[in-house]
């Protein structure tokens, strides 16, 4: 009876499902991601889940930023120079071909830029990096391209580290099979199941060690961690802190995210500097480290991580001083500031591990010094209506719990949006700060670094822009058979060429 059952069931299952072999080659890797790639178009590669698969693996850029040394290195462009204000000339690498066999040239760069900013397609790269100014590219000859921006963008070569280059034949609609000049091409895509990249033997650069990479998707962190543990996968770029318990395979790495509470400087009582200082002094930041936050998290004094140009290492986080906070509140109250007005903390469900607990603890700390604070945890769509402009007129005082990611090395990707009076997610309203940001945005070299440093110092010390909390860390699990260590860039890209075998 038992044999009958087993045999019947096996036959039934076998006939119904079919079987497929699961083999792992010596120079192949399997990477387990937390979410499926919805789109696989190169102009969406600034989304971290898409970037991890595409960036520098399939799609290359003219330049590439190296966070460890803060250097901008050549990639598809061999060199670049500013020929006149706002115009940069890029000399392109010759002898490069796309994975579909077509040669790479200046017209491809022109098309890639036009496509990313076209109003016929919603490209994230265009919206994120090339919004708010005019930009156009002109092919001078096959290997030379002039890119002009208005107003002039001194960091245009750095911006070009975001523009993924596609062949000029690429249509304006989203593509399902990405074509690029990178060392890999996509050879298989099974929706919902996996994506396979294979090494291109005709790649122009150094041949990477990994010949084949298979990406699979599991949303549960414990499953991702288990897959690396049992050898079903080689890299899980993101696992939860709870799973990261094996020092031989698990790495903590700065993930370029900064956690903070955005203060609404336009509404009372948050428009009073003493109130904002009291909020900062009320927070015992150290108490979170190693408890609700990872041991490796760093106390923040700016919205960008320490690897960013202009980061002022001399700034100190606000000390935990509840008595001083109470004094400041009393002073403000004596001057007629409505310090008793209820303030809402707006949180986003699932923004970071333990987010609700962190916000609850913060709420208790604020209440302890005399604030009237409530907490609302919202789902992402509703949360974004509080996070982005236009803000509601009758919103009342709010502190929005937020995270900001800047691995690009320059504060320009953060400062206007976060602190400009008209900035998309800014709670600040200071014309003098707008001027500082505009000056720093237009400056170059050491002057630029100094101006950014001044702006960040002013935000932290004079304006007390936010309640800055932590520079965050992420956790990865990597198979012992690989020679690979996650870096700050792993959050948004995972270059297969950086993976070796032991």
């Amino acid at each position: 009876m038992t044999c009958e059952l087993t045999c019947t069931t096996s036959l039934l299952l076998g006939a119904f499902l079919g079987t497929a072999a699961f083999a792992q080659d010596d120079n192949a890797v399997t990477i387990v991601l937390s979410e499926e790639l919805e789109l696989i178009d190169p102009c969406m590669a600034s989304q971290s889940n898409i970037g991890r698969v595409l960036l520098q693996n399939i799609s290359e850029t003219l330049t590439v930023f190296q966070p460890s040394t803060a250097e901008l290195l050549p990639k598809l462009a061999e060199s670049w120079e500013e020929t006149e204000a706002g115009t940069w000339r890029f000399k392109l690498r010759s002898g490069v071909s796309f994975s579909d066999g077509t040669p790479f040239g200046a017209s491809d760069v022109v098309h890639s830029l036009e496509r990313s900013i076209s109003d016929q397609i919603s490209c994230e790269i265009g919206g994120k990096y090339f919004g708010g100014f005019e930009i156009k590219a002109v092919a001078v000859d096959d290997t030379t391209v002039d890119i002009t921006s208005d107003p002039a963008q001194p960091i245009l070569p750095l911006l070009m580290s975001s523009l993924t280059i596609v062949p000029e034949e690429t249509p304006l609609e989203y593509v399902q099979t990405p074509v690029g000049t990178g060392p890999y091409e996509m050879t298989e895509r099974n929706m919902g199941t996996n994506i396979v990249l294979e090494r291109r033997e005709e790649y122009w650069g150094e041949m990477p060690a990994v010949a084949k990479a298979t990406y699979v998707f599991r949303s549960d962190s414990s499953v991702r961690a288990a897959m690396v543990e049992v050898g079903e996968a080689d890299i899980a770029p993101v696992i939860s802190e709870l799973e990261a318990t094996n020092p031989d395979t698990d790495f903590a790495y700065p993930n370029s995210e900064t956690t903070y509470l955005r203060l609404d400087h336009a509404t009372a009582p948050l428009n009073d500097r003493r109130v904002r200082e009291a909020l900062n002094l009320a927070v015992d930041r150290e108490a979170f480290i190693g408890t609700l936050m990872a041991l490796e998290a760093i106390l923040a004094t700016a919205v960008v991580p320490p690897s960013t140009a202009g980061y002022n290492a001399d700034l100190k986080p606000y000390a935990f001083d509840p008595d001083r906070a109470r004094e400041l509140l009393a002073e403000a109250k004596a001057d007629g500031v409505t310090v008793d007005t209820p303030i809402r903390i707006i949180g986003r469900i699932g923004l970071f591990p333990n987010d609700a607990e962190v916000l609850e603890a913060l709420m208790a700390m604020f209440q302890d010094v005399g604030f009237t604070v409530s907490l609302e945890m919202l789902e992402v769509g509703e949360y974004n209506s509080y996070y982005n402009r236009p803000f509601a007129e009758d919103r009342g005082p709010q502190m929005v719990s937020a995270q900001h990611d800047n691995a690009k090395g320059d504060p320009v990707f953060s400062m206007y949006f976060k602190y400009g009076t008209e900035g998309q997610q800014s709670g600040l309203v200071y014309p003098e700060l707008d001027e500082m940001i505009a000056k720093a945005t237009a400056a170059t070299g050491e002057e630029r670094t100094a101006l950014w440093s001044d702006a960040m110092t002013s935000i932290h010390e004079e304006h007390i822009g936010d309640v800055l909390l932590f520079h965050m860390v992420g956790f990865s699990r990597v198979s012992p058979r690989l020679d690979f260590k996650p870096t700050i860039a792993t959050n948004s890209e995972l270059q297969l060429s950086q993976i070796g075998f032991k």
């Binding site: 069931t9 096996s10 039934l12 299952l13 076998g14 119904f16 499902l17 079987t19 497929a20 072999a21 699961f22 499926e36 919805e38 789109l39 178009d41 600034s46 989304q47 109003d119 016929q120 397609i121 919603s122 994230e124 265009g126 919206g127 994120k128 919004g131 708010g132 609609e173 989203y174 399902q176 929706m191 919902g192 199941t193 699979v216 998707f217 599991r218 949303s219 549960d220 414990s222 499953v223 288990a226 897959m227 543990e229 049992v230 079903e232 789902e379 992402v380 769509g381 509703e382 974004n384 209506s385 996070y387 982005n388 402009r389 990707f413 949006f417 998309q424 997610q425």
Partner: protein, 304 residues
């Protein structure tokens, strides 16, 4: 019979129309998807462009009119997330869920009927007590807990089975087993209860008196009459899995319709939500029709 099927089809079509209208407007009340699709630091111009491109700037009734017009030519629109026809996305997911549901329900039906019938044969016996104990545990154990425990025990510690995914027959063992447990526990109880009633009825006693052996009494005389209430529960459980075994699909990385539906709701991918609901509703309509037909097959007194 044809008339019955026709009436059911018309009733289901009316329900489907109501469902589509309700979901269309309710889903749009959840908010604008623009913020979810563009980076948080996208410019206002880029946001406006996205809304214009996807018709989100139009009044709700205009959007609905456009949807109905497209629906009339069987165009269910494009997925915002995947930039391909919503129906293709949904049918791919549904195919996975259908396979998962079929394998699970075949096993559930077979084992629940055999074990439930045997348990009913000697009520209070050792076999009955063991079967009842485990079926009650099975019916009450939460899926997510079972799934994680199964992975830890069978994949991580014992290394007998893969943790998750698809590809070989072994990949199906854990998800099917986890999905199996709850309906198995429930249906076993229904089979047992129903069969206890049937086996104590007069015609079974007559058969026994005539010297008919146990196996034909249970599986031939008893089962046919004992199956009517079982079929209803079987249908409910199968419909539950067909609607999406969300937790099992999520944990084991099965790209089924349940996970798709949840992701699409969270991402405000309206066309996929609507297409998924239509496909699920049609599947449940067919399932209910099959159950009704099975009733007629088992009980000659039922005529449509």
């Amino acid at each position: 019979m044809k008339k019955f099927i026709g009436q059911r089809a018309v009733a289901s079509a009316i329900s489907l129309v109501g469902l589509v209208i309700m979901v269309f407007f309710l889903s749009r009340l959840t908010g604008d998807p623009t913020d979810l699709y563009l980076p948080v630091d996208a410019s206002l111009q880029a946001r406006e462009q996205f809304r214009e491109l996807n018709g989100l700037n139009d009044p709700m009734m205009v959007q609905f009119g456009r949807y109905v017009a497209d629906l009339a030519v069987l165009d269910l629109g494009m997925s915002l997330r995947q930039a391909r026809p919503a129906i293709d996305v949904v049918l791919e997911g549904f195919a996975w869920t259908l396979r998962l549901a079929c394998v699970t329900m075949l096993l559930v039906t077979f084992f629940a009927i055999v074990i439930g019938s045997l348990a009913a044969f000697r009520v209070g016996g050792i076999f009955d007590r063991i079967a009842t104990f485990f079926s009650l545990i099975g019916a009450s154990a939460p899926d997510f807990w079972l799934a994680i425990v199964a992975i830890v025990v069978f994949a991580v510690n014992l290394r007998w089975l893969p943790t998750s995914g698809t590809g070989t027959i072994w990949h199906w063992v854990l998800p099917v087993s986890v999905l199996f447990i709850r309906p198995f526990g429930l249906i076993l109880q229904v089979v047992r209860g129903s069969m206890i009633g049937v086996l104590s009825s007069a015609y079974v006693k007559t058969a026994r008196a005539k010297g008919v052996r146990n196996r034909p009494i249970i599986f031939v005389h008893g089962l046919r009459n004992g199956m009517l209430p079982v079929i209803t529960v079987l249908g409910d459980q199968a419909a539950g899995i067909l609607n999406g075994a969300v937790i099992v699909e999520t944990i084991f990385g099965f790209p089924g319709i349940g996970k798709l539906m949840i992701d699409s709701i969270l991402q405000r991918d309206f066309n996929v939500v609507l297409a998924a609901i239509m496909v699920s509703a049609l599947a449940i309509f067919l399932m209910n029709l099959l159950i009704d037909l099975a009733y007629a097959l088992l009980d000659p007194r039922i005529r449509y």
